[in-house]
């Protein structure tokens, strides 16, 4: 019987003939923790009383509450720094040299085709955009992976998503994934993987693939995996660490269901509070906003910044609106500088900060007050996600976020022409 990409990678890494439904113990290529999930992992590691540590496979990335929000987060960030120092962990990314973990994992070449990567952050599924099997785990199991280099996995069933056509202008991966989650629900892919196939895949940029894979978890998915093609190879060229082996599905692989999307028919989408599955075509909505947020592991890449800058260039942020622009990593920040994008955002009246997850999870750097609304290029709009329990988050792609910052209400770039 043929295998899906997830089954093939888990077979290779576990040394077994793995099929959906089985539980296997597999070697992981990398295990990542952040400043929130790391400290628990460090405590659990100590409980194991095992001297062995797979240091080269460990990646420690402070990003949620750094630069330190307050004394408590300073203590927490220091725990990670000290742990890295004491144990001699090379892959630790200090403030100023790193950024939002998932973009950094790709930029730094940890994420690559055919790899099995786990991370104590739910959006670890992002690396499926470059043909990795990657998934979010907890802190205790991260500790076990530190000590043993392996973890237990339930081999997921896979949903096949067949893509045809190409996106219209100002429509992208975010709009597609909100469409998919709206169609199948926030648990429509629980315990499952997505696999993306069809002639449309070649028309989807790697940046968009990372966005789509990133939000697989918002449908409950364990992973969202794209095949490796020329775009993938080109994207990781020069940064990928070591060698890699692309993995494609067998022609007779078994899928639990097939979804079909014509990319040309996808409209700009916005997910209303308080679930990512509450998607609506932007054109059918009428929502005034107080804040527009561009950034995060979902849409904080240079491609997102370019798309947004094109829309706000020569325009001004609407009165009464705060437009926050947060590049995902230092590298994205520098690229924005080199390409003149910082100038464009400054001129339009945006606030630009260095990389942090801060506001996305309601941590700091852009918290919403009671009754306030934000349109955001992030991935979650749960109750109180970005602040007060009576604030609201509307999820959208970078183009819609940029256009909305200018309009003061949620609009597509096309609608902005009418202002």
């Amino acid at each position: 019987m043929g295998k899906t990409i997830a089954e093939k990678i888990l077979s290779a890494k576990s040394g077994t003939d793995a099929h959906a439904g089985q539980i296997v113990i597999a070697n992981v290529d990398y295990v990542m923790v952040n400043d929130v999930t790391g400290p628990i992992a460090f405590r659990e590691y100590a409980k194991l009383s095992i001297d062995k540590m797979y240091k080269d496979r460990m990646v420690l990335i402070p990003d949620h509450y750094v630069p330190n929000k307050d004394v408590a987060s300073a203590v927490q960030a220091k725990e990670m720094r000290d742990f890295a120092h004491v144990h001699g962990i090379k892959n630790y990314y200090e403030v100023g040299k790193g950024g939002v973990c998932h973009q950094l994992m790709v930029e730094e070449g940890f994420a690559a085709p055919g790899r099995l990567i786990v991370g104590a952050d739910s959006h670890t599924c992002t690396y499926g955009g470059v043909n990795a099997m990657s998934t979010g785990i907890g802190s205790t199991e991260a500790a076990v992976a530190f000590a043993t280099g392996k973890l237990w996995f339930k081999v997921p069933e896979t949903i096949k998503v067949e893509l045809t056509g190409k996106f219209k202008p100002n429509v992208g991966g975010k709009d597609l994934i909100i469409r998919i989650i709206t169609d199948i629900g926030v648990d429509g892919a629980n315990y499952m993987a997505f696999e993306f196939h069809g002639p449309g895949v070649a028309n989807v940029t790697v940046s968009d693939r990372l966005t789509i894979a990133n939000m697989a978890i918002e449908a409950g998915g364990k992973a969202g995996i794209f095949p490796c093609d020329a775009r993938t190879v080109d994207y990781i060229k020069g940064t990928v660490r070591g060698t890699y082996v692309p993995v494609d599905a067998d022609p007779d692989a078994q899928y639990c269901c097939v979804l079909k999307y014509d990319l040309g028919k996808i409209e700009p989408m916005v997910a209303f509070p308080h679930l990512p599955s509450n998607g609506h075509p932007v054109r059918e909505t009428d929502v005034r906003i107080d804040q527009a947020y561009l950034g995060s592991c979902t849409n904080g890449r240079i491609e997102d910044m370019r798309a947004a800058a094109k829309i706000v260039k020569g325009r001004k942020v609407a009165d009464g609106v705060r437009f926050l622009v947060v590049p995902a990593t230092q590298k994205v920040y520098r690229q924005m500088l080199d390409e003149g994008l910082l100038q464009v955002f400054l001129d339009c009246g945006a606030f630009i900060s260095g990389p942090t997850c801060g506001a996305c999870l309601g941590g700091y750097m852009g918290i919403l007050a009671k009754g306030e609304r934000a349109v955001s290029s992030t991935n979650r709009n749960f109750i109180g996600r970005m602040g007060d329990k009576d604030s609201e988050v509307y999820l959208a792609g970078p183009e819609t976020v940029a256009a909305s910052a200018i309009a003061g209400k949620i609009v597509t770039p096309d609608e902005l022409e009418e202002f």
Binding site: V75, T124, G136, G384
Partner: protein, 163 residues
């Protein structure tokens, strides 16, 4: 698997209870790790952490624990005193985290009401609403998960040399 019987009072929740509701992100700092129960459901049910008694059971609908990978979510429920969570389905990372740290989860669709008394018996796979007398059956755990439950979590399983 070693059989477990749990009896307690029910706290009832609905579908898609996310980890931001269970414990908000702004509480996720290491200085809070010894009193996470102070913050459970603080945005949606203020004061909840103080009302829960040791041994109580949380009962929910579909997709309980969706969202973040924060282990603080199951940890805070354990620290508050919950002995078990019964839900129609669980989000996968929450499921892993709970089983890995020793919080028992039971996947079972029920219509048990808040305040009822519940009994969960792993030996016969039955969930009983003691108040109404209704009963439901849940599926046996896979062998690996049984070992994990018996060990009391992944750390113990590794220490016992079974991983």
């Amino acid at each position: 698997m070693v059989s477990k019987t749990i009896e307690g009072k029910v706290w009832r929740f609905g579908d898609n209870v996310d980890t931001d509701q269970i414990i908000p992100a702004e509480r996720l700092v290491s200085t809070n790790l010894d009193h996470l129960n102070d913050f459970i459901f603080e945005k949606v049910r203020p004061g909840f952490g103080q009302q829960v008694q040791k041994g109580d059971v949380l009962v929910a609908g579909r997709n309980f624990g969706c969202g973040s990978s924060r282990e603080h979510a199951p940890l805070s429920l354990m620290e508050a005193g919950f002995s078990c969570v019964v839900a129609e389905s669980f989000a996968r990372i929450f499921y892993r985290n709970s089983m890995n740290i020793g919080l028992l989860l039971v996947e079972c669709k029920t219509d048990i009401m808040e305040g009822d008394r519940i009994r969960i018996c792993t030996a016969d796979g039955k969930v009983t609403d003691i108040t109404s007398g209704k009963q439901w059956t849940f599926e046996k755990y896979p062998p690996f998960i049984e070992e994990l439950i018996d060990a009391g979590g992944l750390i113990n399983l590794v220490k016992e040399g079974k991983f």
